[in-house]
C-alpha cells in the first residue's frame, strides 16, 4: 500500500442501511471522517445512534439484512471499498484494522485456552506458524498487562478486566495500524476501566497504533481522545480536536450532551436533554436534532451541511 503522505484512514459518505419489517433502518447515513497514524478518535453518541453499525461498516462485517452499503473507505490512500471479499480479508480486516467488538470479553471461547485464542488471528490471517503465533501472543500479553502464565488459562479463570485485556491482545496480535474498540470499558469497574485506559495509552505510545474508540462514556473517552466525533441519528454532527471540543463544543446537541455529564471536580449543575432521538426508520426532514434543539430556526427544515474548516466541522445552520 501507499506512501506516508496519505491519511491512515479517510471515510467518505459511508452508508449502511438495514432492511426490517418496519422499513429501512438508516443506521449509518453519510459519515465522513479521517484519522492520522498514531491518533485516536472517539465516536460519542447515545444508545442506538449507529455507533456499532459504523464499526461494522468500516470492517465490512455485515449482517444479512443489508439494504444499502456504499461510500469510500481509504486506507493509506487506497479505497478498500473497491476490494472484493478475498482482498478485503487478506489486506484489511485483522491485517490492517482489528475490531474489539462490544462485549468482547464475554465472547471468548470458554473451552479454549486464552493463549491459543490470542494466537489464532496470527495463524489464520497472517499465516504464522503455531509456535511463532504463541510467542506473539506472549508478547501481546506483556503489552496489555496480563501475566504470561495466563496463556494457559481458560476464560472462566479470569476476571472481567483480565478477559478484556485478552480481547485487546487478540486485536493486537496481527500488528494492525488501527484498532476499532466498541465500548471497551462500559461493563467494567472504575479501577479496571482506568487500568484498561492506561493499557490503551501505553499501546498507542509503544506501538504507534491508531484507535477508533466507540463509546457513550464521555468522561472516560477523554482519556484517549485526540479527536472527537459526535454521532446523532446515524450521522456525524461534529468533529474536532479533543482540545478544542471538550472545553467548547459547537453543535447544539454536542453542547447539551457535554452539559449532561456530571463532573467530580466542578460545581456546575448538569442538564439533561428533553425528548428522544428520532427513529432511524422514520427520520424527520431537515436537521435530525430539530425537535430537541432550543436554537432551531426556519432554515433547520433543510438538512444542514457540514460547516467549518480543516480539523473542526459542524453540521448545523448556526455555523453557516
Amino acid at each position: 500500500m501507499n506512501t506516508m503522505s496519505h491519511k491512515l484512514l479517510r471515510i467518505e459518505d459511508l452508508v449502511l442501511h438495514f432492511k426490517t419489517r418496519l422499513g429501512t433502518v438508516q443506521a449509518v447515513d453519510g459519515v465522513d471522517f479521517e484519522l492520522d497514524t498514531n491518533r485516536a478518535v472517539v465516536i460519542l453518541g447515545e444508545s442506538g445512534c449507529g455507533k456499532s453499525s459504523l464499526a461494522k461498516a468500516i470492517l465490512r462485517l455485515l449482517p444479512r439484512n443489508v439494504q444499502k452499503y456504499s461510500g469510500e473507505v481509504y486506507l493509506q490512500g487506497t479505497d478498500v471499498m473497491q476490494f472484493d471479499e478475498e482482498q478485503f480479508r487478506h489486506n484489511v480486516r485483522w491485517a490492517a484494522i482489528s475490531l474489539v467488538p462490544q462485549a468482547a470479553m464475554n465472547a471468548l471461547n470458554p473451552v479454549i485456552k486464552v493463549g491459543e485464542q490470542v494466537a489464532e488471528p496470527a495463524i489464520v490471517h497472517l499465516g504464522v506458524k503455531r509456535e511463532a503465533a504463541l510467542n506473539l501472543a506472549r508478547r501481546m500479553f506483556q503489552h496489555v498487562g496480563v501475566p504470561e502464565d495466563f496463556l494457559e488459562r481458560y476464560p472462566f479463570e479470569l476476571s472481567g478486566g483480565m478477559r478484556q485485556r485478552v480481547a485487546l491482545a487478540m486485536a493486537l496480535v496481527t500488528s494492525p495500524s488501527l484498532i476499532v474498540l466498541d465500548e471497551p470499558t462500559s461493563a467494567l469497574d472504575l479501577l479496571t476501566q482506568a487500568n484498561i485506559m492506561n493499557v490503551l495509552k501505553r499501546i498507542k505510545q509503544e506501538l504507534g497504533t491508531s484507535f477508533i474508540l466507540i463509546t457513550h462514556d464521555i468522561a472516560t473517552s477523554s482519556e484517549l481522545a485526540d479527536e472527537v466525533a459526535i454521532m446523532y441519528a446515524g450521522q456525524i454532527v461534529e468533529v474536532g480536536h479533543a482540545r478544542d471540543f471538550f472545553p467548547a463544543p459547537l453543535h447544539p446537541y454536542a453542547q447539551m450532551l457535554m452539559a449532561s455529564v456530571p463532573r467530580l471536580r466542578s460545581e456546575s449543575d448538569p442538564m439533561f436533554i428533553t425528548g428522544q432521538p428520532p427513529s432511524l426508520v422514520n427520520l424527520p426532514t431537515g436537521c435530525r436534532f430539530k425537535a430537541r434543539c432550543p436554537f432551531r430556526f426556519d432554515k433547520c427544515e433543510r438538512e444542514p451541511l457540514m460547516f467549518g474548516k480543516n480539523s473542526r466541522k459542524v453540521k448545523c445552520w448556526l455555523y453557516e
Binding site: 479501577l191 468522561a219 477523554s222 471538550f246 456530571p262
Partner: protein, 341 residues
C-alpha cells in the same frame, strides 16, 4: 450460630440515635458455599460488620465496585435477605421479629428501584397492570381509588399525559420512561425509604441526570430517606448528603459528601477519586495511578485490613494483622484505616 462468628470482636460502638429511621448494627450477610461431595466449604462474606444510622429524610450514597456487597446489604434492608447476624431496625421495629404479614407490611414502607428497568418490569403486562398489582396486593379494594393513586404517582414521575402511557407495554418505552415506571411503582405505597440500586447506570448520559433530578425532587417533596447505590462518584454530590464507601464487605469510610470529596482519608477512596475522569482533553496526556490487583475473594479475604495487599501506604505488622476499627479523625468523618489511629 456460625462458629467463625463467635470469634469476631464486636468493636463497633452501639448507635443510639432516637430519630433514626433505619439503624443497622454490626450486620453480617454470609452466603454458605457448598461443594459437591464435600458439603460446607466456607462462606461468601458479602456484608461483614456494617453499622450505620439513617435519619428520616436523609440521603446517603453507598459507593463501591462490583461484588463488594452493595446489593447484599440492600436486599437485607429490603427484607429479602436474612441477616447472618446483627440487627436491622426500621422505624423502631426490629426486622428479625417480623414474619408473614408484618414483613409484607414492612416491605410496603420501603420502595425499591433496581438497576435494569427493563428486567424489573414484567414484559407481558401493560403499565396500568404493573402499577395496579402492588395496590391490589396491599389491599386497596376500590378500582377508582387504585386508578387515582396510579394517576398521582405517574404525574409525580412526569409521565404526561398519563393516559398515553397506561396501555403501553415496557418494550414500547424508552429506557428513561421505563425507569420512571419503576420509580412510580416504588412510590405507590407511600414509602418512607427508597433504595435505589444503580438506578441510572443502564441509561444514556443525557437521561441519567434527568432521572437523578427526578429522584431528588421526590425525595425533597415527600421527605423521603434515600439510599443511592452507585459506582459513579461523579453523580453522588448532586444527590446525597452523606457517602459510604464500601470495600470487600465493609464500609471503610463514612462522611458528609463535601467532607469526603474534599478531604478523602482512606487510600481506597483516594484511588476511586483518582480513577474518576472529568471530560477534559488533558486526560489523554497522563497515565492514571491505579492500585495493583483486584478486589479480594470474599470467601478468604485478606487478614487485617482487606485493602492491604493493594495499599500504597501499607504498614507491615499492623495492617496485615489487625482489622482496623472505625476511627473518627474529624467529627462525623469515619474511616477504617490504621493511618488515622
Amino acid at each position: 450460630m456460625i462458629t467463625e462468628l463467635r470469634d469476631l470482636k464486636m468493636n463497633t460502638p452501639k448507635i443510639n440515635e432516637p430519630q433514626a429511621l433505619l439503624t443497622i448494627q454490626d450486620l453480617r450477610v454470609w452466603y454458605e458455599l457448598r461443594r459437591f461431595g464435600f458439603g460446607h466449604a466456607g462462606y461468601v462474606k458479602a456484608v461483614d460488620g456494617v453499622s450505620f444510622a439513617l435519619a428520616e429524610g436523609e440521603t446517603v450514597a453507598v459507593v463501591g465496585e462490583s461484588g463488594c456487597g452493595k446489593s447484599s446489604l440492600m436486599k437485607t434492608i429490603l427484607g429479602l435477605n436474612i441477616p447472618t447476624s446483627g440487627e436491622v431496625v426500621f422505624d423502631g421495629e426490629n426486622l428479625s421479629g417480623l414474619k408473614g404479614d408484618g414483613l409484607q407490611h414492612y416491605r410496603f414502607k420501603v420502595g425499591y428501584v433496581q438497576q435494569d428497568p427493563y428486567g424489573a418490569l414484567p414484559p407481558f403486562m401493560n403499565v396500568q397492570k404493573i402499577l395496579e398489582e402492588p395496590l391490589i396486593i396491599s389491599g386497596m379494594k376500590s378500582r377508582e381509588e387504585r386508578l387515582a393513586r396510579i394517576h398521582k404517582v405517574m404525574s409525580e414521575v412526569k409521565l404526561h399525559p398519563v393516559e398515553d402511557f397506561l396501555k403501553k407495554f415496557p418494550h414500547m418505552l424508552s429506557g428513561g420512561q421505563q425507569q420512571r415506571i419503576v420509580i412510580a411503582r416504588a412510590m405507590l405505597r407511600e414509602p418512607k425509604l427508597i433504595v435505589a440500586d444503580e438506578p441510572v447506570s443502564m441509561l444514556d448520559a443525557s437521561v441519567r441526570v434527568e432521572i437523578l433530578k427526578l429522584l431528588r425532587a421526590l425525595q425533597e417533596s415527600h421527605g423521603l430517606s434515600v439510599i443511592y447505590i452507585t459506582h459513579d462518584l461523579s453523580t453522588v454530590k448532586y444527590f446525597s448528603r452523606r457517602i459510604f464507601v464500601m470495600y470487600a464487605g465493609s464500609l471503610i469510610e463514612k462522611a458528609d459528601t463535601r467532607q469526603l470529596l474534599g478531604n478523602p482519608l482512606h487510600p481506597y477512596t483516594h484511588a476511586l477519586l483518582a480513577a474518576t475522569s472529568d471530560p477534559e482533553a488533558r486526560n489523554a496526556e497522563t497515565f492514571k495511578e491505579v492500585p495493583p490487583g483486584e478486589p479480594p475473594s470474599l470467601v478468604n479475604p485478606p487478614t487485617g485490613c482487606r485493602f492491604h495487599p493493594r495499599c500504597p501506604r501499607f504498614m507491615a505488622g499492623l495492617c496485615d494483622v489487625k482489622f482496623p476499627p472505625d476511627l473518627e479523625p474529624e467529627p462525623g468523618h469515619f474511616v477504617a484505616c490504621w493511618l488515622y489511629q
